[in-house]
Point group: C2
Chain length 353, copies 2
Amino acid sequence: MARQPTSGERPTVKDVAASSGVSATTVSRVLAGNYPVSAETRARVMKAVRELDYVINAQARALGGGGTKTVAFIVHDLVGPAFAYVGQGVEQQATAEGRLCLVCTSHGDPDRELEIVELMREQQAEAVVLVGGGSGNRSYVDRLTQAARALDKSGSRLVLCGRPPLGTDAPATVVEYDNEGGAYAMTSYLISLGHRDIAFLGAGEAGHSTVDGRLRGFERAHEAHHLPMTSHRTSAVTFDRESGYQATRELLARDRKFTAIFAATDVVASGVLVALREAGLRVPEDVSLVGYDDIPLARDLTPELTTVHVDYEELGRTAVRHALNRERHALSQHTMIGTHVIIRDSAGPPPSP
Amino acid sequence: MARQPTSGERPTVKDVAASSGVSATTVSRVLAGNYPVSAETRARVMKAVRELDYVINAQARALGGGGTKTVAFIVHDLVGPAFAYVGQGVEQQATAEGRLCLVCTSHGDPDRELEIVELMREQQAEAVVLVGGGSGNRSYVDRLTQAARALDKSGSRLVLCGRPPLGTDAPATVVEYDNEGGAYAMTSYLISLGHRDIAFLGAGEAGHSTVDGRLRGFERAHEAHHLPMTSHRTSAVTFDRESGYQATRELLARDRKFTAIFAATDVVASGVLVALREAGLRVPEDVSLVGYDDIPLARDLTPELTTVHVDYEELGRTAVRHALNRERHALSQHTMIGTHVIIRDSAGPPPSP
DNA sequence: TTGTAGGCGTTATCAC
DNA sequence: GTGATAACGCCTACAA
């Protein structure tokens, strides 16, 4: 008589085997489909599978061999629009390559981030994608390098997505986008419109790779055009709307000479816009405003925001693709994704004096 | 001599045991910390753990007993703001309860959704959270009910987050928010402002639980105030900005009597706003506009959008909390989260005739 | 306090 | 084509 699994218990290959009168090995072969099995046997097994509503145990499979078919991505939080798009890309590519996706949020805490990497090593994730700019702090970079080596040793791969490489001796895959180039192009655009006094509102602490790159592009453009620079960094540590609002108010209180504002992100720009409007300043007639990221919000602002486009979804896809299909023994990989200016309505010529 | 694991291989408890001169069991006990071990032994073991850079194998642990400590959430996509917030809540609560989070996207495809539920059963996820409104299609509901039973049998739990229960005999946890109540309150608000001809722009096919609920609230408010209703549903199947834009253009082409528009979502409202502005209509002077969801976008529109607030993050948290800490043998659970009107600047009295 | 034996569900290996 | 058997790495009895 076919063995009936205890009700309320999950059936196993053994149950299927018993129920279809074959060995567990044969059941495994039918399911894997990578080994010759007679058509008749296959049919019997499949019937039992359906009747028992059997599904394989992924943990057991991973243990026996085969690996976990899992990719992890670690992100500050899921609600930042840019993060969400990267996540979307990661999930998409992971699914396309037959992998499942683990998500974790670090809320920007480096210690938590390293903890999570450790957790992912326990989980045997095939790739660990770290999303978002990170700190350049020395001890942090060292610990991350060590984590990269540990992952490498267990056949996994650390991927840095949207931040610079750790060093050439760290086994990691890096997929960046061109913060500096985009900021350079945007600044040049403003200069070409006639602006000579541009305020850069870069929220966040120094040493943060993303803002640093953008600021560098801003500076380089000034140098290239032989222009003095009036950069205005704020002490805010977040990239949110509120910090853009506050920074603009402070700026307006102490300096009204600038004719354009370059906000470090679109979200910051949305806060800037509110402050400008409250001060009775029109955009772009009185002051031009540009952002960075080109998230959907950019088109919802009034006026629609001129900004730098970054293909975040592609960033995520590339990260997974490279991590999973890299050349054997290629120690480090590095890809740079281009960015470009999207001209909308928030920037124009400076007001005539 | 202590056994050195082959370089490039992951160390196991055995390696740690050999390296510290104790048995594998003792290592396990030290790591679990739930069993008395002499201080000296513990120290030796921990030292070996550090030296070998050992981490436990989560798959093996799950297999031996203990379970996977994993929660899955399935969502249309990660970039919709509402979805992102629910995901944030799910991840947050999962982490708080010591679980890891698997994400999958279904892109609104019911078949894919059921496939994913199956995958999660293989993964032994402790809870499977289905996020977002779903179709009321009979065969779909039946298959989902069957999936719920299958999950229940393996000790897991299906959670419906933001959609109505499958039926009282399905072992599932449901966490909804009050679509009908919020729409009722908002419609009443518009009526109290003096509006008598309100267009409801509900993108999406009939049978979609979220829109249906909102439309029901819209209708009930009209009934309660003894007002005839002029509902306008569009044929668009998406909830995006574009569908709001198109729907509004069609609406304007055939009917200009309405004095207010109730958009099914904030994102739809953003498209409506563009179309209105293009037509030279001022908001709220010429026509009032309200939305639903209260995503950050609502505050970035000009004028800031009057809308219905939904605490999506709490929705996600509640989903996980209930799934993990339910009473034993409670077949079905049902929670409703409240919604409320947020008054901003996009709705006012109708223009005097 | 510590060690030994067996099992979790699957797949790889080796026989038949 | 099919079936036993031994891993995989951990944990929970049961002994000592």
